[in-house]
């Protein structure tokens, strides 16, 4: 076997980079979250004041509730939209066009992130396509306020995550051996029964991985709620950015960031048993 020393030498650069620019900042964040900002200055108070503040003020708690509600809604809607799409591409589209159909389904994934949210603003805004169309066919008399609401944030998110989930669920579906379906049919199962008792349980890992990814990316995102949701209903990332930008309150921002991280950790533990990535 080769010498261990060389092994450490090869591993060291990556390890040092992660420790210096990830582990150390995270430790610093934990420390700073125990400080506080008093009269415009950061004081090393070493107490849980920021966390108490978070729990007491409805401003912060409402942010947490908004984030959780939006994320849950987005995850559920995206799974419900993506599953049939992935299934149709995997099962109904002729094999020759399958890859093309899949690439088409995730093509707008490659638009720039900021631009994608902006595009939805064009669609949903007061003078946007949706309002103009509804007005011209006489379905509504006044333009709807869709932009700067929770609905706009959810639509923007669902658009992005439907593409992501279609990809993960599709990858899962095409791996299923066709024999399973034939066996179920031979044993007298109807199409629906086959789906419920064979296909769905077997694709559950793919769904869970996708749903978890959706949850993590959605709850930590700043751009989509900021551009589409506006400032009426703040999510936690928006509140963190306000703490940094407007108030330079790094201790409070750190505390909120750590709370956000712990929410993700709880979600991870909750679906850990489906998340063994190698099974997908």
């Amino acid at each position: 076997m080769h010498t261990t020393k060389t092994g450490w030498g090869l591993l060291a650069p990556a390890l040092l980079w992660i420790v210096a620019f990830f582990t150390v900042p995270m430790a610093l964040m934990v420390a700073v979250s125990l400080w506080s900002r008093e009269k415009g200055k950061i004081v090393q108070t070493w107490d849980l004041g920021n966390y108490a503040n978070f729990l007491e003020k409805s401003y912060f708690m409402q942010g947490l509730v908004n984030s959780l509600e939006i994320t849950a809604l987005v995850t559920i809607i995206s799974v419900l939209l993506a599953y049939p799409l992935a299934w149709i591409i995997a099962e109904q589209v002729p094999a020759r066009f399958r890859r093309l159909a899949l690439i088409l389904a995730i093509l707008p994934f490659w638009t720039s992130y900021v631009v994608r949210s902006y595009s939805w603003l064009l669609v949903l805004g007061k003078g946007g396509i949706v309002n103009q169309t509804l007005l011209s066919i006489g379905l509504i008399a006044e333009p709807l306020e869709i932009a700067s609401t929770r609905a706009a944030t959810v639509i923007g998110f669902v658009h992005f995550f439907t593409m992501l989930l279609t990809l993960t669920i599709y990858a899962n579906l095409v791996q299923l051996p066709p024999n399973y379906r034939r066996a179920a049919a031979d044993l007298g199962a109807s199409g629906l029964q086959t789906f419920r008792h064979v296909i769905l349980p077997l694709t559950l890992p793919g769904i869970m991985v996708g749903a978890f990814l959706t949850f993590v990316l959605c709850i930590g995102d700043y751009i989509t709620p900021q551009i589409l949701g506006g400032n009426n209903e703040l999510t936690l990332p928006q509140i963190i950015m306000l703490q940094i930008g407007r108030r330079a309150d790094f201790p409070m921002a750190s505390a909120i960031a750590l709370i956000l991280m712990s929410v993700v950790t709880v979600a991870y533990i909750a679906c850990a048993r489906w998340l063994r990535l190698e099974r997908v």
Binding site: P13, A14, L15, M29, L85, W110, Y118, Y222, V264
Partner: protein
């Protein structure tokens, strides 16, 4: 059932493509607002973005940061994957976990941590600090992709090379890297696209020189503008070209 499937497929594609179609269509809008009615075709907004120095230098900055940080990320990730796959190191499971750890934390939190670190040690914000941040988010990804593709097949070839007297660096450069070229390239490409499109870390860690997503964000403050449509369409076109190129080269060959 069939008809229902096609109907669903059409509706889904409609939903998925709606914003892109609106974006691209109204980038040609002959008027000040990128919303209906469509007033006619002009290339004026494209001319304006290519004449906009700030936008063009932001585009260049993004390219430099994406290529530079991805090169570092893929190199470090490759060396670490090789070390953990081929050497018996105590605590290697922990090391793998440590390198993968940034994947579980949102970009905003990573950016905030780095911002505070750089403030503490007095390192001024610049494109360099953005690059450091982008290596942090892409290194775990490169590591995971390359580590997953290290198999027994390469191991045998590496042993043969060693028996013939190759040094470790010769093995790495002449045997391992060429054999793993598809996954190294895939890792590099993914890394470039993530860095190229990344907003929040670049926003927090850049100061005077900014990357393209941050500059586009700045443009959004002036409201809806066909110029934003134009730059958005150009970025989309570049990405699509890259994806199609990749589809016909790397992935086709692997099948």
């Amino acid at each position: 059932m069939r008809a229902l499937s096609w109907l669903y497929l059409a509706a889904a594609y409609g939903f998925i493509f709606l914003p892109v179609i609106v974006l691209v269509t109204f980038s040609f809008q002959d008027g000040r607002l990128p919303v209906p009615p469509f007033k006619g075709v002009t290339l004026r907004w494209y001319a304006e973005i290519f004449a906009d120095d700030r936008l063009m230098s932001a585009l260049l900055n993004s390219l430099v940061v994406a290529l530079g940080s991805s090169l570092v990320a893929v190199t470090l990730g490759f060396l670490a994957a090789f070390a953990l796959a081929r050497y018996v190191l105590p605590g290697s499971a922990w090391m793998r976990g440590l390198i993968a750890a940034p994947l579980t934390v949102s970009y905003l939190v990573i950016g905030l941590g780095l911002l505070m670190l750089f403030n503490q040690i007095g390192l001024p914000r610049s494109l360099w600090t953005v690059g450091i941040g982008h290596v942090v988010i892409n290194l775990p990804l490169c590591f995971a992709i390359i580590y997953a593709s290290m198999g027994a097949q390469q191991d045998a070839a590496e042993r043969a090379a060693r028996d013939l007297g190759a040094s470790t660096s010769q093995v790495l450069i002449l045997v391992t890297a060429p054999m793993l070229a598809p996954s190294i390239f895939a890792a590099f490409f993914l890394s470039v696209t993530f860095s190229w499109d990344e907003f929040i870390i670049a926003f927090l860690l850049a100061r005077f020189e900014v990357t393209l997503p941050v500059e586009i964000w700045n443009m959004l403050r002036s409201g809806l503008n066909p110029k934003t449509n134009a730059i958005g369409s150009v970025v989309f076109l570049i990405s699509i070209a890259l994806v199609i190129a990749l589809e016909f080269t790397v992935f086709r060959r692997r099948k």
